[in-house]
Amino acid sequence: MIHLPLAHLLSEPVGVSHYVMVGAVLFTCGVLCMATKRNALGVLMGIELVLNGANLNFIAFGSHVLRNDVNSLGLDGQLMAMFVIVLAAAEAAVLLAIALNFYNNHNSIDVDRADELLG
């Protein structure tokens, strides 16, 4: 019989790399959201996803549950994540303001219309 690592999927603890991979998926989704959504609010959501992906990495690197050695970030990771969350909130507020402003000026929230900087 072919030996399946799948069998051990649920019986072994997960590691940092698993978290990093989940973070990578979120990050990529976020980036793609930013790259594909024409709605400015969609772009904003993409940013949130990116930040969360990054946060997940911070947490994973700092977690002693996942990786019990001296090289982990320890509490610093969690603190970083905290700051990111807080700043994300701030950034969301500013972006919303910009979006609303844009909406008022252009009567649209299509970011493709915001190409006045075209050289």
């Binding site: 030996h3 799948l6 072994e12 930013m34 790259a35 493709d112 190409d115």
Partner: protein
């Protein structure tokens, strides 16, 4: 060596090989006199190839297998798992449980794999030469110790190839009996318009088609049975000329004759390299023989290439013989420091010459198997009738190149294998991308053939001998199937253009579903990791596993690891694009749809037969332990069952093929293959089945990319510019030189001086000096204009640029680190 078996096998296969020649001769002399309207030629050729197939199968099942029983494949693989558990395991605990079990079973299998690799510290004892029978029939010339002969070299691979070639050829012959019926009466060629505006009307050439087919089979079987490189070369050329005849079968069509010329000449370019390789080999070893010639008592009389280069004293590792070293020192003068390196692990003496020989021989394979950069002939070979395409693309011509690479395998140095891998990698990606945009149904299949051949070469180059040859066999079946299906479609719809098809599923169900089988087989559909799956699933997964294992051993060559996975995605995409465009959806051309019909039974029965093989050739036959991989293991070339280190490039590591069956690799590679293939199918479905994305809009967006792919990366134009045009210019110059210069010396030197001064003016002043100044200015200007376009002001594109930049930067950094 068992003399009785040898003579039995060689006789059987010799007849299987010579019968098509007899058919060729018979049709050559009698074909016309039997009348243009008789099916005489077709029946003779078909009957003969049927006999050949029967002889080949008898040779396999009646002679080979009883004398060389198969090892139990599962044992050997268990054993291998056991060996490498400490190296690759992710879950060591679980592994230990299996280890003991595998070890105990492993001993039985070990006998067939040499000493099986119970060595320590990851050092493996190497595998012995496979069971083979070698002999000479006929001497072309003998000069002292040098001998050029016509002979045979028969091992499990030879026998299998015989079965495969004759079986597919038989199907093609039957299919052609129906497909070529137009040629039985006077034939009006609608693609040829005469000067008076009418279409060409000519007598049919039914018998001639079968005459060429017979010769083709003869030549191909000659390549397979060949006992030495020179004989391979002889039949290699004959295969080339047969393809010339068959591709140019419609000799009245200019496109057909041009394609035939192109095929032959491009192949000759490969043969040029092959000749260089042969010369290097011949001058250093003085023999071309694959096997050892023995006398009646079994003593070795003359040593072949492989036993010279991989001697038993040297544990079957590749090492240059004294004669090779001497020849290299003669050709490439040793450097001034005269470095003879004492380290036996990295003894580079003679390695350069072996590298040249290996790469040279491989050049021939590049030509025959349509590898980049000589792949340009194969798509044009579509000009021949479809049965020819089916034969050329599956079992014969292109298979010859891969076959030779596999046959010559023990003599390839690790560096030559790296070249092979790179060529395969480039081929598979380039061809796959071109197939995405093609709309000619046969052209898509042609590029898919090139791409799949790239897979095989890649596998061989990465050390996956069985994987590569296995894919050759499975591919032959499903590609033959796919081509014959496309022929059936063309026969029913009278066009090659997929943009005029659609919805044909209802009109021609047998064709549609057998073709679906072919598509599923080529993308390697199957249940991941545990199987079962279509034949392509087994072979392609084996390749990807080997690539994975190779990529793990050589992190700096990660591209070779990812290429097959990316290729799997593209393959799945374009194959299902083809199927959807042809059979699914609504008819795009109602007129053609209304007239479409299913093909006659003489054409559909071969389709069904082949589709059965396309599904099951990778399976293990129930009850018996008969399966293709086990047979191929029997033919495993000497000394390929060890992890090999590069000599000229010491950091190069070619992992043992059995390592790639380790669960961790199998798991990762299996999922990678499955998910990429599935996403390819998904993407094709999104675009062509559910119409969620509009292909026209896509084309619009990717206009430059589309035209780049549509024009096949501009290869034809590029070659025209850098090879054909200069050649013609040189030849014109040579001719001109004759008339104007040499003759002018006779007539008087004044003319010469005048001519020269003109040349100086024209070439240097006008072209070189002025041209350079203007050129630099122009390029700068254009570059500026082009760069301006990047600055679009579009937010979303900027984000994409950031991501691309990141990825590229990462890759660049990783490369820089590798080199440092």
């Amino acid at each position: 060596m068992d003399i009785a078996t040898a003579s039995k096998l060689s006789t059987l296969l010799m007849w299987a090989w010579l019968l098509p020649l007899a058919s060729f001769v018979v049709i050559l002399f009698l074909g016309k006199s039997m009348g243009r309207h008789s099916k005489f030629g077709g029946y003779v050729a078909t009957g003969v190839i049927l006999c050949s197939a029967a002889l080949s199968f008898y040779a396999l099942f009646g002679v080979w297998l009883p004398n060389n029983p198969l090892a139990d494949a599962s044992h050997s693989s268990e054993e291998v798992h056991a060996e490498h558990s400490e190296v690759t395991s992710v879950h060591p605990v679980a592994f230990l449980a299996d280890h003991g079990e595998g070890e105990s079973k492993g001993h039985e299998g070990a006998a067939d794999h040499g000493e099986g690799g119970h060595g320590e510290d990851g050092h493996h004892a190497n595998n012995k030469p496979p069971q083979s029978y070698y002999g000479d029939w006929y001497t072309l010339g003998q000069f002292g110790s040098l001998k050029l002969t016509i002979g045979y070299y028969i091992d499990a691979l030879t026998v299998m190839m015989f079965c495969m070639v004759t079986l597919i050829a038989t199907c093609v012959h039957f299919y052609a009996l129906g497909y070529m019926h137009d040629e039985l009466h006077d034939f009006t060629d609608s693609e040829v318009t005469l000067s008076d505006g009418t279409n060409l009307k000519r007598p049919g050439r039914y018998y001639r088609f079968f005459q060429y087919l017979s010769l083709f089979c003869f030549s191909m079987l000659g390549v397979v049975i060949a006992g030495n490189v020179a004989m391979v070369f002889v039949f290699w050329e004959l295969v080339g000329i047969c393809s010339y005849f068959l591709i140019g079968f419609y000799i009245e069509r200019h496109s057909a004759s041009t394609a035939a010329n192109k095929a032959f000449i491009v192949n000759r370019v490969g043969d040029f390299g092959m000749l260089i390789g042969m010369m290097a080999l011949w001058s250093s070893l003085g023999t071309f023989a694959f096997g050892d010639l023995t006398d009646t008592e079994g003593h070795v009389v003359e040593q072949g290439i492989f036993s010279q280069l991989r001697s038993a004293e040297n544990d079957y590792h590749l090492q240059a013989t004294d004669s090779v070293v001497a020849e290299q020192n003669r050709v490439i003068r040793p450097s001034a420091d005269g470095a003879t390196i004492e380290d036996p692990e990295h003894n580079t003496a003679g390695q350069w010459l072996l590298f040249i020989a290996g790469v040279g021989i491989f050049c021939g394979c590049i030509g025959k198997s349509a590898q980049f950069p000589l792949h340009v002939w194969l798509p044009d070979a579509m000009e021949g009738p479809t049965p020819v395409s089916a034969l050329v693309h599956s079992a014969t011509m292109v298979a010859a190149g891969v076959y030779l690479t596999g046959r010559f395998y023990p003599a390839f140095t690790p560096e030559a294998l790296l070249v092979i891998a790179y060529i395969g990698c480039a081929t598979l990606l380039i061809a796959a991308t071109i197939a995405i945009t093609a709309t000619d149904i046969k052209r898509v299949l042609a590029y898919s053939t090139i791409s799949q051949l790239g897979y095989m070469m890649l596998a061989l180059g990465l050390g996956g001998w069985v994987a590569g040859m296995f894919h050759l066999i499975t591919h032959a079946f499903f590609k033959g199937l796919l081509f014959m299906c496309s022929g059936s479609v063309i026969h029913g719809v009278h066009t090659n253009d997929m943009t005029e098809m659609g919805g044909l599923r209802k009109k021609m169900p047998i064709t549609a579903y057998t073709m679906l089988v072919g598509c599923l087989a080529i993308i390697g559909a199957g249940i991941p990791i545990i199987g079962p799956g279509f034949s392509g699933y087994y072979s392609k997964d084996a390749i990807i596993e080997q690539a994975w294992s190779y990529g793990n051993s050589n992190p700096h060559l990660a591209i070779l690891k990812w290429a097959p996975i990316v290729g799997a995605f593209i393959t799945a995409f374009y194959m299902f694009r083809l199927w959807y465009m042809t059979f699914a959806g609504k008819p795009r051309n109602q007129h053609r749809y209304d007239h479409a019909h299913e093909s006659p039974r003489v054409m559909t029965v071969p389709l069904i037969v082949l589709s059965i093989f396309a599904i099951g050739i990778g399976w293990k036959l129930p009850i018996t332990n008969l399966n293709t991989t086990a047979l191929l293991e029997q033919a495993r070339p000497v000394g390929t069952l060890a992890t090999t280190q590069g000599v000229l490039l010491p950091e190069l590591v070619i992992p043992n093929e059995h390592d790639s069956h380790a669960p961790a690799i199998k798991w990762a590679a299996g999922w990678a293959a499955f998910s990429t293939a599935a996403s390819g199918v998904l993407l094709a479905s999104i675009i062509y089945l559910w119409n969620l994305l509009d292909p026209k809009e896509l084309k619009q967006t990717f206009r430059p990319l589309h035209s780049w792919l549509w024009n096949k990366w501009w290869f034809d134009e590029l070659y025209g510019l850098i090879f054909v045009a200069p050649t013609m210019m040189i030849s014109k110059t040579a001719s001109w030189f004759d008339r104007r210069v040499i003759d002018s010396i006779l007539h008087g030197s004044v003319t010469v001086c005048k001519g020269c001064s003109k040349v100086v003016y024209a070439v240097f002043d006008k072209t070189l000096v002025d041209g350079m100044a203007n050129g630099i200015a122009g390029v700068t200007w254009d570059l500026g204009l082009w760069l301006r376009k990047i600055q679009t002001g579009n937010l979303r594109q900027y984000i994409m640029f950031i991501v691309i930049g990141t990825v590229v930067l990462f890759i660049a950094i990783s490369f820089v680190q590798q080199t440092i």
